[in-house]
């Protein structure tokens, strides 16, 4: 292995160019230009089948065309996303862009918080410095972004929070309830099993708020069904590999498992893999899961999942409409005061996706990735 000094930079270059040539460029911002150039950047991924497939398009509905705000010809919105490490987060951006596209004089700047509260806080300052008219944010973390939220409100700028709340003043917080979604899924599971059976729970990353909420929803439903037995709880960390390991061990320990209640589709796939490894495909262990991706809905349709909790990322469009409405000075219909400062627009629960309604939901799910093969087939 003779490696000369000269080779080193060349190799780094090769690596860099390999990276640059990969599938598509990164989603970071659509400059201050026309509204369409944001969506062009997403040409590679067309999760969203069109504006009409947005599940919440009727909430705060708004006609197409220029938005008239006194003293402003063009409107620039700022969208601060948690990070883009997951397709769910990208799908949310798509719904933001879908709404923006309908209003020719509106454009949006997107910033990526890298899953880092400090970075996102700085991003908010950058957006304000850039002169945006309103800010839409999906916070990395509740408490950590409260000061940033206060800085926005101090500038009398509309601040719309999506998915996760912040304990500070805001124009409106728009979110779905993880607790209720998981409760619905669990109720379906209990009904399928006639109120009797042994189940295991694979959680999302221990300590993250959606994982905590989804566990709460399950516990609420189990409290109402004394015939159900929760055998064990394991940390699936939202992904596949840890789920395989815990499920491996549970299959060794428990001769009879009737259902797996998982917080995420990926972990459900992991559990199925473990069932296959253990040669227990014929046990007919049922899978109840959450995420609401298009491939997930397909899996429901094919009978691999019994139900998929429908936690939609397509809420960005409501955020845009709320921000534009606030700029126009319109009230936000349905927003109510709640325990935190500001108002809360609670979204109606989307129906749990089961074999009955899977067909109609497949086109409305997020994610373009391919459906995982059923390991048992």
């Amino acid at each position: 292995m003779k490696i000369s000094r000269k080779l080193a930079p060349v190799l780094v270059l090769v690596l860099l160019s390999a990276t640059a040539c990969s599938k598509a460029s990164t989603v970071s911002s659509s400059g201050g230009g026309g509204s369409s150039d944001g969506s062009d950047k997403l040409a590679g991924s067309q999760t969203l089948q069109g504006y009409d497939s947005l599940p919440f398009k009727d909430i705060l509905a708004m006609p197409e065309g220029d938005v008239k705000v006194a003293g402003k010809e063009k409107i620039l919105l700022g969208f601060s996303q948690t990070c883009f490490n997951h397709p769910w987060r990208k799908a949310m951006l798509e719904s933001v862009l879908a709404e923006v596209k309908r209003h020719p004089n509106v454009s949006v700047v997107t910033v990526d918080g890298n899953c880092d509260a400090a970075k996102q806080s700085n991003d908010i300052d950058d957006l304000m410095a850039r002169g945006v008219d309103a800010i839409i944010m999906s916070p990395v973390e509740s408490a950590g972004l409260a000061p940033a939220a206060r800085r926005v409100m101090a500038k009398k700028m509309p601040l719309v929070l999506l998915d996760r709340d912040v304990p500070a003043e805001k124009t409106v917080f728009i979110g779905q309830s993880n607790v209720e979604m998981a409760y619905e899924t669990a109720k379906k599971m209990i009904a399928d099993m006639n109120g009797k059976g042994n189940i295991v729970e694979i959680t999302g990353l221990s300590g993250s708020s959606p994982a905590t909420d989804r566990s709460t929803g399950l516990k609420k439903a189990l409290a109402e069904a004394p015939g159900m037995k929760l055998l064990a709880v394991g940390d699936g960390q939202w992904v596949r590999e840890p789920a395989v390991k815990v499920m491996d061990d549970w299959l060794t320990k428990y001769p009879k498992i009737d259902a797996v209640f998982s917080h995420a589709e990926e972990s459900s796939w992991g559990a199925m893999q473990a069932i296959k490894n253990a040669g227990r495909c014929n046990d007919n262990i049922k899978e109840y899961t959450h995420d609401g991706s298009a491939p997930g809905f397909k899996a429901v349709k094919e009978g691999q999942f019994q139900a998929d909790g429908n936690y939609s990322p397509f809420i960005g469009d409501i955020g845009v409409r709320a921000a534009l409405g606030a700029l126009e000075g319109k009230p936000i219909d349905g927003a109510k005061a709640y325990s935190q400062p500001g108002s809360y627009l609670q979204l109606p629960n989307l129906p749990l996706v089961t074999a009955e309604n899977a067909d109609q939901w497949v086109p409305k799910g997020w994610g373009t990735f391919e459906l995982t093969k059923n390991p048992c087939k």
């Binding site: 490490n85 596949r240 390991k245 990735f369 391919e370």
Partner: protein, 330 residues
């Protein structure tokens, strides 16, 4: 007249603690991890009657195979007193590129992609450390971030599903009743044991870690050895990537998150000294097995995932305490 004072001052208890002979130290270093593993296995078999079932043992072997393979590569690096923090991120890169290549170009090219990509990333680390003289911690920390970026950009955060049956069959199949990933791990273990113990290169790795200047003055090609250990670590990442993709049927850009710490933990628990010059591949196997058995028995005993972290942390420290007094005499 000295006698009474002499007896008074003689404190047999103290001497044992303060000065243990080098022989005892060496023995503990060599077998401490093994003793810990045996204790853990005895405890586990008392705790759960399912623990020693063949299927469960094979499960544990399969479960530790990915981290175990990474830890074997890590062992080479740590013996040279280096560290490779980038194995987790590199694993993510390898997994997503491999998944994509298997899908679009077939299994053969997918495997080639995994191995060469692993080596290439490892080579960048190696060149940075050996020729750029960047501290391993810093160089591989940089690679950690860089590789993570590559994985995310390539996939745009979307998982890449693998539908190639032959490829999936490998990761989930068995040969002679033993899961294939476990076989790969055990074969690599044997190769690494041989390379470290029985080759000129292995002896050079120990020499560089034990005393770099002495090795250099004795004509050991220190820079080449240092570069090579990172390439080996990268190669192991490539192999682990194949195991991951074919076992789980998916390439996600978060596949390797945190795996570097698991690999370092297995290596250190297995008796490899972070100060360099000391460690064996067999020890690393024992280290990986200790961590794997622990998580297995905790799951079998139905311990909550929150509490499992406490056990894991406690065990890492306890296992290293058993092999005390490392880095003495340097």
């Amino acid at each position: 007249m000295n006698e009474p004072a002499a007896t008074m001052l003689a404190k047999p208890k103290m001497q044992g603690v303060r000065e243990r002979g080098p022989a005892a130290t060496a023995t503990m270093r060599k077998y401490g991890a093994g003793v810990a593993l045996i204790l853990l296995i005895i405890f586990s078999s008392l705790q759960s009657d399912r623990f020693l079932q063949v299927d469960n043992v094979l499960n544990v072997l399969r479960q530790i195979s990915i981290v175990g393979v990474l830890a074997l590569g890590m062992t080479f690096v740590i013996i040279t007193a280096g560290i490779d923090l980038s194995v987790g991120s590199m694993l993510s890169v390898v997994v997503v590129y491999t998944a994509d290549t298997v899908q679009t170009r077939g299994v053969f090219l997918g495997v080639i992609m995994a191995l060469s990509l692993g080596c290439l990333l490892g080579l960048v680390n190696g060149l940075g450390v050996a020729i750029g003289r960047i501290q391993p911690f810093v160089m591989t920390l940089g690679m950690l971030a860089f590789a993570k970026g590559i994985a995310l950009i390539f996939t745009e955060g979307q998982p890449v599903a693998i539908t190639n049956d032959a490829f999936l069959a490998f990761g989930n199949g068995r040969t002679l009743g033993i899961p294939n990933p476990a076989i790969v791990f055990l074969v690599l273990l044997a190769v690494c044991m041989f390379v470290l113990r029985g080759t000129v290169f292995g002896r050079s790795v120990y020499a560089v870690g034990a005393n770099e200047e002495a090795a250099r003055l004795s004509g050991i090609p220190v820079r080449r050895v240092k570069c090579a250990v990172y390439v080996i670590s990268g190669l192991m990442v490539g192999i682990a990537g194949i195991l991951y993709a074919s076992q789980l049927g998916v390439g996600t850009p978060v596949a390797g998150d945190g795996k570097e710490l698991d690999a370092i933990a297995a290596t250190v628990v297995g008796g490899t000294s972070l100060f360099g010059g000391v460690g064996t591949a067999g020890g690393t196997f024992v280290g990986a097995a200790i961590l794997g058995v622990l998580s297995n028995i905790l799951n079998l005993s139905g311990v909550s995932p929150y509490v499992q972290y406490l056990f894991r942390g406690g065990l890492i420290v306890a296992a290293v305490l058993l092999q005390r007094r490392e880095g003495r005499g340097r």
